[in-house]
Amino acid sequence: MLLEVRDLHVEFKTRDGVAKAVNGVSYGVDAGETLAVLGESGSGKSVTAQAIMGILPSPPGRVTAGEVLFQGRDLLKLKESERRKVRGAEVAMIFQDALSSLNPVLSVGDQLGEMFVVHRGMAKKDARAKAVELMDRVRIPAAKERVKQYPHQFSGGMRQRIMIAMALALEPTLIIADEPTTALDVTVQAQVMDLLAELQREYNMGLILITHDLGVVADVADRIAVMYAGRIVEQAPVHDIYKAPAHPYTRGLLDSIPRLDQKGQELYAIKGLPPNLMNIPSGCAFHPRCPMAQDICRAHVPPLDQLDNYRQSACHFWEECLDG
C-alpha cells in the first residue's frame, strides 16, 4: 500500500459543541490505483483528505486518533518541517476551485516555478523553463507566452489544468483530487478528467478522487469508498458496487439517479436529511433514513464487515441488501 489511513478521527470544536467530522475512517490506495471517495456534503470526505495532507484548519479542527501511513511512515507523527517536505513533493493535492486556490497577484509561471525554487532550490530562470514545460504537459496552448499571464486571464478549464500542473510539478507518488471537475462544464470536465487519468497512468501515481458525482466515479475509479456521517459505509471495486450495492445508502444514491425507463414516474428519493454532525444518530448513523432499519440498527454501530477479499460493508443487513 502506498497510503494507508487507519481509524482516523477528526473533530471540530465549535461554539455550539463538538462536530465529529470523521469517526474512524480506514482506507488505502496503491500506486497506479484510483480510489474514489464518494459522499455528500458533510460526510467527511474532504476533511479526511485535509488530515492526510496536514492542512486541517486547526483550531478548530483536530485529529483525535488514527494513523496516516505513507510508504510506511506515519505522517501524523512528523514534525511540521518534515511534513512540509512531503507535501507537494510526495503527496500533492488538487482543489475544486482553481480560481480561489491560485494566487491572483502572481503570474502562473511564478506560481508553478515556486515549487522548484522552494523544494529543489532551483534558480528562478530554470524554474520558469520548468513551468513552461509543465504547462505543455497539461496541454495549455501557447505555454511560452501564457506563462507570464495571471490566473484571471485563463478559463476555468485552463485554470484547473494549471492546478494539475502544479500538483504534478515535483512528480509526487500520490495525488489527492478534491472535486477537481465540479466547477467545470460537462464538455470541459471530460477534457480535464481524461488528462488526469492519462498523467496518472504515465507516472503510475496513486489517485484519491473525492467527489459526489456517481457518473465521474463510474468513468475513472478502480475502487470506491462511500462515506456517510464521517464513516466508510461501503468499500468495493467499482463494477461490484454499481451492479449490487451492499449498503442501503449506496443503493439509495444509485436509485435516485434519473433513469430512462423511469421517465414520468416518481424518482426514488432517500427520505430525510443528512445528519447533523453535532448530534449523529445512535447506532448506524443512516438508520433514520434507511428503509431496512431494525431495532439493532438504532442500538449498535455496524462494524465494517468483510464480504469477500475486496468488499466491505458497514450494514447489519448487508446480505439482504446485496440480494436487493
Binding site: E40, S41, S155, G156, G157, M158, D185, V186, T187, V188, Q189, A190, Q191, M193, D194, H212, D213, L214, G215, V216, V217, A218, D219, A221, V238, H239, Y242, G252, L253, L254, S256, I257, P258, L260, Q262, K263, E266, L267, Y268, A269, I270, K271, L273, P274
Partner: protein
C-alpha cells in the same frame, strides 16, 4: 395540450461594454442572448440545457422581467410583456414566478420564513387579504412538505433542500401559471435532489403549472422535461421533444454534450464513444462569424464561417419524419 402560454421570438440581450469616464463610448457588447425563439405550451415542462455563459440564466431573467431585452418579444397569452408597464405589467408578473438556484443567497437571512413566503402578498394584496395571509403561508409550507409550525423560523435553521422548498413555496404564493426554475437543484446533495424534483413534479400536476426548467444536468432535465432546448453562446442550437434530443440528436454540439456527460455505469466505460471537444467556449463579446459553434466543431467547413444556420428541421430530414426531424441549427446535421 399544445396551447402556447409563452411565445418567445427573436429575444436578444446585449450588455454594452463602454470605455472612458466622461465621454463614454460603446466599444462592444457582451452578447449574452443573441436571438432566441421558443414556445412554452400550457402544462408542459420545457428544459433548457447549456454550459455556463450560454445565456440560459439571462433568458430566465427576461422571462420574469428582471432584465429588459435589447430586442425581441416575449408573449404571455398573446400579449407582449416586454412592452407592458404599470398595472398591466404587475398583473402579468403575478403569473410568471421564479425559483432561484442558490437557496442560501436567495432567501433574506433576516426575514422569517413566513415573511419570505408572504412577501409576494405585499405587492399583490388582492391575492390574499391581510387577515388571511398567515393561514395561506402555512398552507404553502404544508404543500411543499415543510412543517407549517416552522413559519417563524429563519432560513439558517433549515438545510439546503428545505430552503429550496421555501423558495418554491414563495414561487407558488401568487398561484402563478408559469414557473421559471433556474438550476433549482444544482446546489443540493444527490439524495436531496430527487426529493425536490419529485416535489416539483407533484406541484405541476396539482396546480396545473407550466415550467421552464433550466439546468446543466442532462439526466435530470430529461427526467422532468417534455421538450428540451440546447443553448450555445446565446442561441438555441437544437430543440425538440426529450426523446428526439436525447436519442436522436442531430446538432454536433448536442452530440458532444451528451457524449461527454459521465454515465453512472462502469460497464459503459470501455465501449462508450466519447466526443471530446477541443478548446473552450468563445467569449460572448467576440462571437465567431457564421455558425457560432464552428470553432469547436469537427464538421466545420467554409460555409459555416460565412452563413448563419437557422433553427429549423434540417433539409435532409424534412420529408423523412421520425425522431430526427426536429429543429436543429446545423448545415451538416446528421444522426
Amino acid at each position: 395540450m399544445a396551447e402556447p402560454i409563452i411565445e418567445v421570438t427573436g429575444l436578444v440581450k446585449h450588455y454594452p461594454l463602454t470605455q472612458g469616464i466622461l465621454f463614454k463610448k460603446q466599444v462592444g457588447a457582451v452578447k449574452a442572448v443573441d436571438g432566441v425563439d421558443f414556445t412554452l405550451n400550457k402544462g408542459e415542462t420545457l428544459g433548457i440545457v447549456g454550459e455556463s455563459g450560454c445565456g440560459k440564466s439571462t433568458v430566465a431573467k427576461m422571462l420574469v422581467n428582471l432584465e429588459q431585452p435589447t430586442a425581441g418579444s416575449i408573449k404571455y397569452k398573446g400579449e407582449d410583456i416586454t412592452k407592458l408597464s404599470g398595472r398591466a405589467l404587475k398583473s402579468v408578473r403575478r403569473n410568471i414566478q421564479m425559483v432561484f438556484q442558490d437557496p442560501y443567497t436567495s432567501l433574506n437571512p433576516r426575514m422569517t420564513v413566513g415573511d419570505i413566503i408572504g412577501e409576494p402578498y405585499d405587492i399583490h394584496p388582492e391575492v390574499a387579504p391581510k387577515g388571511d395571509r398567515r393561514r395561506k403561508v402555512q398552507d404553502l409550507l404544508d404543500v411543499v412538505g415543510l412543517n407549517p409550525e416552522y413559519i417563524n423560523r429563519y432560513p439558517h435553521q433549515f438545510s439546503g433542500g428545505q430552503r429550496q422548498r421555501i423558495g418554491i413555496a414563495r414561487g407558488l404564493a401568487l398561484r402563478p401559471e408559469v414557473i421559471v426554475a433556474d438550476e433549482p437543484v444544482s446546489a443540493l446533495d444527490v439524495s436531496v435532489q430527487a426529493q425536490v424534483i419529485n416535489l416539483m413534479d407533484r406541484l405541476q400536476n396539482e396546480f396545473d403549472l407550466s415550467y421552464v426548467f433550466i439546468a446543466h444536468d442532462l439526466s435530470i432535465v430529461r427526467h422532468i422535461s417534455d421538450r428540451v432546448g440546447v443553448m450555445y453562446l446565446g442561441r438555441i442550437v437544437e430543440i425538440g421533444r426529450d426523446a428526439e434530443i436525447y436519442d436522436h440528436p442531430t446538432h454536433p454540439y448536442t452530440q458532444a454534450l451528451l457524449s461527454a456527460a459521465p454515465v453512472p455505469d462502469p460497464e459503459a466505460r470501455e465501449h462508450r464513444e466519447r466526443i471530446i471537444l477541443a478548446g473552450d467556449v468563445p467569449s460572448p463579446t467576440n462571437i465567431p462569424s457564421g455558425c457560432r459553434f464552428r470553432t469547436r466543431c469537427w464538421k466545420a467547413q467554409e460555409r459555416c464561417a460565412t452563413d448563419v444556420p437557422v433553427l429549423a428541421v434540417p433539409a435532409g430530414f424534412r420529408d423523412t419524419g421520425g425522431a430526427a426531424a426536429h429543429d436543429s441549427a446545423c448545415f451538416f446535421a446528421e444522426e
